[in-house]
């Protein structure tokens, strides 16, 4: 099977997956034990009112008709309305104001591991079995085992403790731009008509750094481990030996031959981060009080706002399916062995 045919096959496969996801969400919302009318009006809804609501929500239609409506609405990106948390607000509007903070968080949660985890892993891989290698590997292992929610509260407590000068006079509140609180939603108003407002940008970055560090922690550890193994495998391969015999400098070998090849196994790790980010964003946004999609999903799920929760779940799933396609595309371009190997 040629590489591109393999890719198209994967692409085609994501269509039924999308439908199955919608079916599952539909089944959970309509056929699950939660009665939509009771969730909306409270358990003591009167008969007439409940009946009206039932008619208005279309719950008296046959199930297949409801299903068709549901699927067409989702496919045309009409995600419905929130019931409980945001009154009758359109889900699309909620996403328009809650989406940017989550994206900002996700951006930094991907950047930080990339610029800390991979260099550390490469460092450890280039000096195997040295003290630095052991330190990096062990801290990576522990880092990975730490639950995000615990890491968050410990980090928060530590940062709060520095108010008024902690160790060595380090004060997180006054370091760089001043912030009133360690937690909160970034404004994200730094792009104005007059250009970029650097002060707002700096405080937005400062606000997002601690949660992004926590959210990226697991990926950072994974990238460290895999980066280390990738370097070790590449450095022991024959073409590096050849380059050495040819008399290339260590510098040229490392930068030209080792790094580029070691990056290949890191591609799926980086795309896989999306899974961790989306799952982890609920907890991190909840603890750091960021009004993003994750926190809203949590509120919606807990308070029985099922249409909102279902719509957000669908949105996240679509993002993941798209990322999977992107990953397959990258693989197809980078690694010529794809499609032969499977």
């Amino acid at each position: 099977m040629s590489r591109w045919r393999y890719f198209y096959k994967r692409l085609l496969l994501s269509v039924p997956v999308l439908f199955l996801v919608m079916t599952l969400i539909f089944a959970l919302l309509r056929m699950g034990p939660v009665d939509p009318v009771a969730a909306r009006l409270g358990p003591e809804a009167s008969g007439a009112e409940a009946a009206r609501m039932r008619e208005r929500l279309g719950l008296n239609d046959p199930l297949w008709e409801q299903y068709l409506d549901f699927v067409t609405n989702f496919l045309t990106l009409d995600l419905g309305k929130s019931w409980v948390i945001y009154g009758d607000m359109e889900v699309a509007r909620i996403i328009s104001f809650a989406g940017p903070p989550t994206l900002w968080l996700g951006l930094w949660a991907i950047m930080l591991p990339l610029f800390i985890g991979i260099p550390l892993g490469f460092y450890a891989g280039l000096r195997p079995n040295s003290g630095g290698d052991y330190l990096a590997s062990v801290s990576g292992i522990l880092w990975q085992a730490m639950p995000n929610f615990w890491l968050s509260i410990i980090l928060l407590a530590t940062l709060r403790k520095t108010k008024g000068g902690g160790w060595f006079g380090f004060d997180w509140y006054t370091l760089g731009p001043d912030i009133r609180s360690v937690t909160g939603t970034p404004d994200l108003t730094f792009v104005t008509a007059a250009g970029i407002d650097w002060g707002t940008l700096a405080s937005d970055i400062k606000l997002i750094l601690p949660p992004a560090l926590v959210l990226g922690s697991a990926s950072m550890a994974a990238e460290l481990r895999i980066g280390r193994t990738a370097i070790l495998e590449t450095i022991n391969s024959n073409y590096v030996e050849t380059a050495k015999a040819k008399g290339l400098t260590d510098r040229a070998i490392v930068w030209k031959h080792v790094f580029r090849n070691a990056l290949i196994p890191l591609v799926p790790v980086i795309t896989n981060e999306a899974f961790l980010l989306i799952g982890g964003s609920v907890i991190v946004e909840y603890i750091f009080n960021i009004n993003g999609l994750g926190k809203i999903f949590f509120q919606a799920a807990v308070q029985g706002d099922l249409p909102l929760a279902g719509a957000l779940l669908f949105l996240f799933t679509v993002v993941i399916i798209l990322l999977n396609i992107l990953q397959d595309l990258l693989y197809t371009i980078i690694d010529p062995r794809v499609g032969y190997k499977r």
């Binding site: 959970l28 730490m146 615990w150 530590t158 790790v269 899974f275 799952g279 999903f297 779940l313 799933t317």
Partner: protein, 575 residues
């Protein structure tokens, strides 16, 4: 004791003599080992019976649930049609269920009417008649148990026997080495073991628990070596190499030690904790304890009232390794509601372990079955499974778990273990596709081997081929992935209860402790959130290390670069 049984031989080839005969030829070593085992069991007999009783309770619960299916389906059908139909439907479904059980019974007993009688009918018919007869017997039994006093009588007898046997004091029970006593005006202790201070008595008992567990593990290993040296027919099996590789894998051994300590803590939770969960957490106003009050007199108080006086908040705290005002020993301090933190940790280990094992067991079962079916039949089964697993994997796991636990929050399934059973089922549903994906490659490989073809051409049924000739090669992989996934499940469970979902009520859970202590991290009561967090880090690291060790031992040529699936599984909880 499951540890000792797991080393028992399970396979003997057809032409070899059964183990029983080999032991009969040379009974010395086996007798020696069995004697030691009997002593070990006798020391903790009451506790083992208690475990068996809990298992019996679980089986009863499952039977009860299955028993509800016919009337549930019958009622739904009756609602849609005429009510009288519901009776017919539910009776039919009951009979179908019982027939299914009868099929299982006849399959797993060696006796068969086909071999015994020759009545001129074809084997199929005789077999069917035999099953019908067994079904009738089962139905009679069920009616007898459900509608006559016999059922209550049998139930009562079982409960009575188990209650009596499990209340026998064991080596590590509170009755034998008690750490619950009070100071005397003279400065000594009253009511504790040998008049020692509660701290020392508790330390002694905890030490005894881990020593006993260590002895059991060493003795099981000895049993295995005795079997290997005296009774095994082959001089060498591939498993010897696996064990040898694992023994020199220090990282994996570290993981094994941590995991074993976690399991022992969970199983012996009542002995490790200074007080029982029932007395300290569940019903603290139904007990009474004595203490020396400030006036120098011995007074009586309920644990519930004492808890209120020994809370850990930002003002007052009962820290690790200290006594509270009621002469109670708190090795890890108390919680913000005044309960013993170690009691929460030990019983919380139990909760995590039950959920993790349930999820891995059930999910692994689904994954192995599907991998066998898809590797053996391929084609449409394979495509359907790929679609289903892709669908479930595409949905962010933690969010799906969250939503499912909210939606089924009021379902009857959420009752056992305060939601623990439901959580285990949800995790199994969410994580089986991941397990299936990891073992898919190996099972496809096995299905291509010649011996599978040979088994097929010899006329083995597909089920037997899969069970005997394919599954053993997959077992190792599922163990590796299961170990890595268990860490993720522990984190997810804790994260859910941190958010106030999943485990509710009075069942101890590590995540809830962290949630209780989240505002106290930089106060004198730092221990409330810090200690459970460190425990999670340690246990999850242990499971990850064990998984790494198992992988290197079982499959030394594994592609270490392709850690994308195993690596993320370890932290896949998203918590």
């Amino acid at each position: 004791m499951s540890v000792s049984e797991s080393f028992e031989p399970t396979e003997t080839t057809d032409e070899s003599r059964p183990l029983r005969e080999r032991v009969a030829d040379n009974p010395g070593p086996a007798r020696f080992w069995l004697l030691g085992t009997a002593v070990l069991i006798a020391l903790e007999f009451g506790r083992y019976i208690g475990w068996v009783y809990q298992l019996v309770g679980a089986v009863k619960y499952v039977i009860g649930l299955v028993g509800l299916i016919p009337s549930w389906i019958g009622d739904s059908v009756g609602e849609a049609t005429v009510p009288i139909v519901s009776y017919f439907v539910s009776d039919t479904i009951t009979l179908v269920l019982l027939f299914g059980i009868a099929v299982l019974v006849t399959r797993f007993t060696s006796w068969s009417a086909v071999d015994q009688f020759d009545i001129g009918l074809s084997d199929r018919i005789v077999r069917f008649l035999e099953r019908a007869v067994v079904t009738a017997i089962l139905a009679t039994l069920a009616v007898l148990l459900a509608f006559t006093p016999v059922g209550g009588l049998v139930n009562g007898t079982i409960d009575g026997v188990f209650n009596t046997l499990s209340s026998i004091p064991t080596l590590t029970s509170h009755e034998v080495i008690s750490n619950q006593g009070h100071r005397t005006p003279g400065g000594g202790w009253d009511g504790t073991f040998l008049g020692l201070s509660p701290a020392v008595a508790w330390g002694l008992r905890t030490l005894l628990v881990y020593t006993y567990a260590l002895t059991v593990i060493v003795w099981s290993w000895k049993g295995y070596t005795i079997f290997r040296d005296h009774y095994r027919q082959a001089d060498w099996t591939p498993r010897d190499d696996t064990l040898r590789r694992f023994r020199s894998h220090y990282w994996g051994l570290f993981g094994l030690i941590v995991v074993l300590m976690f399991i022992v803590t969970a199983l012996w939770a009542p002995a490790v904790s200074p007080t029982t969960a029932d007395q300290n957490i569940a019903s603290p106003y139904e007990y009474e304890i004595e203490y020396l009050n400030d006036d120098g007199e011995v007074a009586t108080v309920t644990p519930g009232a004492a808890n209120l006086g020994s809370i850990s908040t930002n003002q007052n705290t009962v820290g690790p390794m200290s006594y509270d005002d009621y002469d109670r020993w708190a090795p890890l301090g108390t919680t913000p509601s005044g309960q013993n933190l170690l009691t929460h940790i030990a019983y919380g280990a139990q909760t995590s372990l039950v959920i993790g094992l349930l999820a891995i067991g059930l999910g692994g079962l689904i994954a192995v079955t599907m991998s066998m079916l898809t590797a053996y039949y391929k084609g449409i089964v394979d495509i359907l499974t790929v679609l289903t697993s892709d669908t479930i994997i595409s949905i962010p796991a933690f969010l799906l778990v969250m939503m499912l636990s909210v939606i089924f929050g009021d379902h009857p399934l959420a009752e056992p273990l305060n939601g623990g059973l439901l959580l285990g089922l949800i995790f199994a549903f969410v994580y089986w596709p991941g397990m299936w994906r990891t073992i898919r490659g190996p099972s496809l490989q096995v299905a291509e081997e010649e011996w599978v073809d040979a088994a097929r051409s010899y006329g083995q049924t597909p089920a037997n081929t899969m069970r005997k000739h394919m599954a053993p090669y997959i077992a190792g992989y599922i163990m590796i992935y299961g170990s890595l996934l268990l860490g993720g499940i522990i984190i997810s469970t804790a994260a859910l209860s941190f958010l106030g979902l999943g485990i509710e009520g009075s069942t101890p859970e590590w995540g809830r402790l962290i949630s209780d202590g989240r505002q106290l991290v930089s106060t004198p009561s730092w221990h409330v959130a810090t200690i459970p967090g460190l425990m999670i880090v340690l246990v999850v690291t242990g499971f990850n290390a064990l998984g790494d060790g198992l992988r290197d031992a079982i499959d030394p040529e594994a592609d270490t670069g392709g850690a994308d699936d195993t690596g993320t599984a370890a932290a896949g909880g998203g918590g």
